[in-house]
């Protein structure tokens, strides 16, 4: 009797989770199928009707998208923003993280508490003052401006994560390296960076996805020639419906890269997100 009840309960749990999984998949499937249909077909019936009518599906929207100069430019801008940002955040934060963990300098502990406090500062508060500053420096509306802003707001978390990871290294290891006459730069590049690789990988993936997916910062700091995919797509959202043949494949293209990165490095990504909780 008990076994039957447990079996039934197990079956119910499975059914419930399958339903939840389907609910999670459906909106995504809707976007993908919509991206394969023409705007006229979408105006006539929902994407699910395409299953009865597979002739509607084609990659025409995608090839049109690749010929659209604005879109391809925006795609490259996204790469040109997210790759340098990721590299800079990792380098700057690794240097600082090592110093906060193992070097001695005046004000070290209060400064690190400041970094911890800055973890939760919303980017919104920086928009206006930094826009003014970048305007004077000639950085407003340029890719370097967008990159610098992202780097600054990515740093608190990055420094926090790497400092904590580096601080776990055994003290003897560093002392031995110092005894061997290694200067700090060499210890940093030959010892600290290799040992810290798992944390650095998590940070890099997390940071890359964060910047790739950003819209708010680029909406303000980029102009039409430097805007990433998110801003380009956002500028077309007003005609939602009539230009679904551009929006759906564009959105799908913008999410393919992060999703591939996610599946390729899921362990690192999950760890990065988990370390970043309470951010």
């Amino acid at each position: 009797m008990n076994a039957i009840r447990r079996g039934l309960g197990h079956w119910l749990v499975q059914a419930f989770l399958v339903v939840i999984g389907l609910i999670w998949l459906t909106p995504l499937a809707g976007l993908f199928v919509s991206s394969l249909r023409s705007a006229e077909d979408t105006a006539k019936g929902g994407w699910w009707t395409a299953f009865a009518n597979p002739a509607q599906l084609s990659f025409d929207n995608y090839s049109a998208l690749l010929k659209n100069a604005g879109m391809t430019q925006a795609f490259w801008n996204t790469v040109l923003i997210s790759v340098p940002t990721t590299a800079l955040v990792v380098i700057v934060a690794a240097l600082a993280g090592y110093a906060f963990a193992w070097l001695d300098f005046p004000g070290r502990d209060p400064l690190f508490l400041l970094v911890v406090a800055l973890l939760v500062v919303p980017v919104q508060i920086g928009l206006l003052p930094v826009a003014k500053m970048f305007g004077q420096l000639g950085l407003f509306g340029t890719i370097p401006g967008v990159v610098l802003f992202h780097v600054a707001y990515g740093l608190p978390f990055a420094v926090f994560l790497l400092r904590n990871y580096f601080a776990e290294m055994p003290k003897e290891m560093l002392e031995a390296a110092r005894m061997d006459g290694g200067d700090e730069w060499r210890i940093f590049t030959r010892l600290v960076l290799p040992v810290g690789r798992p944390a650095i990988a998590s940070l890099a993936i997390f940071q890359f996805l964060w910047v790739w997916n950003d819209m708010l910062v680029a909406l303000l700091f980029a102009d039409t020639s430097s805007q990433p995919l998110t801003v380009e797509l956002q500028s077309q959202i007003r005609q939602f419906g009539s230009n679904i043949d551009v929006l759906a494949p564009g959105a799908f293209l913008s999410l393919v890269v992060p999703v591939v990165v996610f599946f390729a490095f899921q362990r690192h990504f999950v760890q990065g997100v988990m370390a970043g909780s309470v951010k």
């Binding site: 197990h10 749990v13 499975q14 989770l17 939840i20 999670w24 909106p27 995504l28 809707g30 976007l31 919509s34 979408t42 006539k44 929902g46 699910w48 934060a93 240097l95 600082a96 110093a99 070097l103 070290r108 508490l113 911890v116 406090a117 800055l118 973890l119 939760v120 500062v121 919303p122 919104q124 508060i125 920086g126 206006l128 003052p129 500053m133 610098l148 802003f149 600054a152 740093l155 608190p156 420094v159 200067d183 997916n213 819209m215 708010l216 797509l233 959202i237 679904i244 959105a251 799908f252 913008s254 999410l255 992060p258 999703v259 996610f262 899921q266 990504f269 999950v270 988990m274 309470v278």
Partner: protein, 455 residues
């Protein structure tokens, strides 16, 4: 950086004449210089682009829109008077109260349940994946799913089909009575005959406005039913389409070839009260039996003619915020589930086993052991979500259609609109930014405390 290091290296074999104490001091000083070089880039960027802007915004929020006149706290009082910003504050409050609780609860339930199936990893990956998708893409995904037209939005398509299973959709949304042939239209959209019919009478109710191709399958000609005999205690009649295919025929008469309208609801009304109701047969005929003598009217209630159910206006002013929160759940549930799941797997097995051996059921174990032991993890998840929910911007900006933006607005979008999106009041905008910062200060304190305790 490398050039400095090279110089340092060149100077390092110090001259032997220097006393050791001085040498040690010099070494320490050099160590400090190196350390400062390591932290300098980070501190410069944080100072110039994060700390300074915070101070600047606090100062700027005390000045008027143009930035020339000091207005003290006026922007802050304005914030609570201006209907648009007040709406943003209200909506952000709804977000903060609703979203983190739902997410933590859902994450907890799923984390516990998913451990019981073999495909747990696949499920976790699927639910976590939206975390990798941009809010913009998620916004477009849900804008599509929430489309009002049930022929476009999958959610309304589902609602309409469920609705139609439980409630018959009206059969004749376009039908109307032939004018001047006994039927008059009521205020509610129904049609009735004049009162004064008595049992034994027969009525013919002509309708128009239905295309022959829209007739329900199985509709039969009405002429046979139009004759027939009527018993003394019954009221008989036929509802038909007063249109003769191929032309000809007389208006208001049941000509041969004219079709009955099956499935039409018909009521017999006496003294304003419905005393009997029925549905027409395939030839459009109906009859009410066993009627007492009196004066009756025959009524075709409005439900016959109601427009087809069109689902729910998800992105209308009332539902837009809950629906955007729904999209937010799609993105963040996986995060809550995975984080709570990690906490779950760290729970002491012995406690759970001991409880099971003592005969506790799963619910008791969940309530009395799992949840209390998980409290620290749940707190972390909850706080993280609160912080992120306060800053939500892209989803609202993308999902809410233009005219509904002001109903869906939250602090972050309002701050954007006021400062850059046409409002052009950077004083008020800065004040909204500062409010956003003030709201996350408890989280800041929580973080700093947690960090100090861990040291």
């Amino acid at each position: 950086m490398t050039s400095t290091l090279a110089k340092d290296k060149g100077a390092s074999p110090s001259p032997p004449s220097v006393p050791p104490a001085q040498r040690a001091r010099r070494l320490r000083r050099r160590g400090r210089v190196v350390a400062l070089l390591f932290v300098f880039p980070a501190l410069l960027l944080l100072g110039a682009l994060v700390v300074y802007p915070v101070l600047f915004s606090v100062g700027r929020s005390l000045f008027d829109a143009s930035g020339t006149r000091f207005v003290g706290a006026d922007n802050y009082t304005e914030m609570f008077r201006n209907p648009a910003t007040l709406k943003a504050i209200r909506n952000t409050t709804i977000w903060v109260v609703v979203a983190p609780v739902l997410l933590t609860g859902l994450g907890l339930i799923l984390a516990v349940l998913v451990e019981k199936v073999r495909w747990a990893t696949a499920f976790k990956l699927l639910l976590f994946m939206p975390m990798a998708v941009s809010f913009l893409a998620a916004g477009i995904i849900f804008r599509l799913a929430y489309d009002e037209d049930p022929d476009k939005g999958v959610l309304n398509a589902a609602v309409v089909s469920v609705h139609d299973v439980f409630k018959d959709s009206s059969s004749y949304p376009a039908a109307r009575a032939r004018e001047g042939h006994g039927l008059t239209k009521g205020d509610d959209g129904s049609y009735s005959t004049r009162a004064g019919l008595s049992p034994g009478d027969t009525v013919h109710l002509p309708m128009v406005g239905v295309l022959p191709k829209d007739l329900p399958g199985g509709a039969e000609p009405a002429s046979a039913a139009a004759g027939g005999k009527t018993a003394a205690d019954e009221l008989r009649g036929v509802v038909y389409l007063d249109f003769t295919p191929g032309g000809g025929g007389t208006q208001g008469k049941v000509d041969s070839g004219e079709s009955g309208l099956p499935g039409m609801k018909v009521e017999a009304v006496r003294d304003g009260r419905t005393v009997a109701s029925t549905t027409t047969a395939s030839d459009g005929s109906f009859h009410f039996g066993g009627l007492k003598a009196g004066s009756y009217a025959v009524k075709l209630p409005e439900s016959n003619f109601a427009p087809p159910y069109q689902g729910i206006s998800w992105l209308g002013p009332t539902l837009v915020t809950p629906m955007i929160i729904g999209a937010y759940l799609w993105i963040w549930t996986g995060f809550a589930m995975v984080l709570i799941g990690a906490g779950l797997s760290a729970l002491p097995r012995d406690a759970l086993e001991a409880a099971r051996i003592d005969g506790a059921n799963e619910w008791q174990i969940f309530r009395r052991i799992t949840v209390p032991l998980l409290a620290p993890v749940l707190t972390v998840v909850f706080v993280t979500l609160v912080i992120n929910v306060m800053k939500v911007f892209d989803l609202v900006y993308i999902i809410a259609p233009g005219p509904v933006q002001e109903d869906a607005t939250v602090l972050a979008t309002q701050m954007w609109l006021v400062s850059f999106g046409g409002g052009n009041n950077q004083g008020l905008g800065s004040a909204l930014g500062v409010l956003l910062l003030l709201l996350v200060i408890p989280a800041m304190v929580f973080n700093v405390r947690r960090f100090r305790r861990s040291q």
